[in-house]
Symmetry: C2
Subunit: 271 residues, 2 copies
């Protein structure tokens, strides 16, 4: 090969290299020659994982990477990431990408002991469910619950506690699915229903909800768990813990005892 060029890329702390098409696309005249020369050099340098972030607009790189031993690792709307593990004497230890969807259900109870319940527009059978939806990237579960309640019902809320969570497999896109039930306190009462998503929305006495034939067993369980936690004064609360080595707070959820609120126990306070 004459005038051989190589990818620059960025090294990582695991002896890997990441090449981004958005950085190098314009400088490459023959992608496959550059790729093969670079792979040979990376092999000589004993590099391990070779990553390519390929912008949607540069996707003609994708079939050439596939032909040269790369596989897919993950994708966002406008970018796919492909990877090749170079070492022949060491098993591939690259973590798999995320494969659990995370959703929230909001358990909003007003001062009259009424629960905010909804019926989905596209659901075939009558069925009272909790407002909710998927968490967005970088969103805390309580913020997702507050946002979904506002979008679907117009009600403003505050976070109180996590009541329960469910983990099931074989859900959307072949993923597993976490569903966190978040207890919220309403700051407003008037309902402004989102007509795109819902066919009904109302306040319902919790006991009526538990007794309704149009409530799934899991939601009935959540309602009973809510009543039980309230009766005992025991809730799953969030604590912000400062991590010295990261210089930032981490959000941790654990069992909290109402009776400790007057004392200074340390376990449940902000550490």
């Amino acid at each position: 090969m004459e005038n051989v060029s190589y990818f620059k890329g960025f090294p990582d702390r695991f002896s890997g290299i990441t090449v981004s098409s958005s950085e190098e696309y314009l400088t490459i005249t023959n992608f496959e020659d550059t790729l093969q020369a670079s792979l040979q050099r990376w092999n000589e340098l004993k590099m391990r994982a070779i990553w390519f972030n390929v912008d949607l607009n540069h996707s003609e790189w994708v079939p050439i990477l596939a032909k040269n031993g790369f596989t897919y690792h993950r994708a966002q709307s406008d970018e796919v990431t492909m990877v090749r593990w170079l070492p022949k004497d060491e098993p591939n230890n690259i973590p798999r990408y995320a494969h659990n969807m995370v959703g929230v259900g909001a358990f909003v109870v007003n001062e009259e002991g009424e629960l905010l319940v909804v019926q989905e527009r596209f659901y075939k059978h009558p069925h009272w469910k909790l407002p909710g939806g998927y968490v967005e990237p970088d969103e805390d579960i309580q913020d997702a619950a507050i946002r979904e309640v506002k979008e679907e019902t117009g009600v403003d809320t505050d976070f109180q506690s996590v009541i329960s969570f469910r983990h099931v497999h074989g859900a959307n896109f072949g993923c597993s699915d976490f569903y966190f039930i978040v207890h919220l306190r309403p700051k407003s009462k008037e309902i402004t229903m989102c007509k795109n998503e819902l066919s009904a929305c109302q306040w319902m006495k919790i006991q009526d909800y538990i007794d309704s034939p149009f409530v799934h067993q899991t939601n009935r369980f959540f309602a009973n768990a809510y009543l039980e936690g309230n009766k005992r004064g025991v809730h799953i609360k969030a604590t912000d813990i400062y991590q010295d080595y990261l210089k930032k707070y981490q959000k941790v959820y654990s069992v909290h005892f109402d009776s400790d609120d007057k004392s200074d126990s340390g376990v449940n306070g902000k550490l």
Copy 2:
């Protein structure tokens, strides 16, 4: 266009179509002509999301799909999924793919009140952490914890409860990260350390762990939460709930009171 061919695809209940290259690759002579004719027909039929699952070996379809308005949705090692939302009068309501990694830390306590702790081989500073790792596809968190403890330390364990969970953002691959702390009871005591991953592994008195300078604040919090839950007889337990409409069990985690174990409360029993 002469001799126009169309993709078959599979319809879904949301007025969408999924085309899989593994089904149709061999029957298509001109991919772009077939794609454009099919898009025109799907528009006339008022279809909504058009999905293409493209096998790694058929990845020359990818740049052509990108040129025709498709974006990435998700990828597995040997397949990328691209999607185009056709309706012009309705916002794209396709859920984003998973963006939360899920890991477990195992809190293994023996009958002498000692905790199973490890040091990672690649960690720069001395640091006693809990054995653990990422959950595998379709794996329950307790099974992931049991598997990781066995792989890293050789110790066999049983699931007891969930002590706590942490949710942080900006973790691996730009994902957020859930980390569940799972209390396990050891069924064996002898340690066989995995030398690929660990530099040290031992049983340590829980109070010594809490007092150690080589323990991060979050792990110290988990240890205190474990002691507190034990003292009060309150734990986050798993319940299998049968869903009539799905004809299967769902795993739900919620606060459980040891004092109820003798009674028949319904909330914490298998429903």
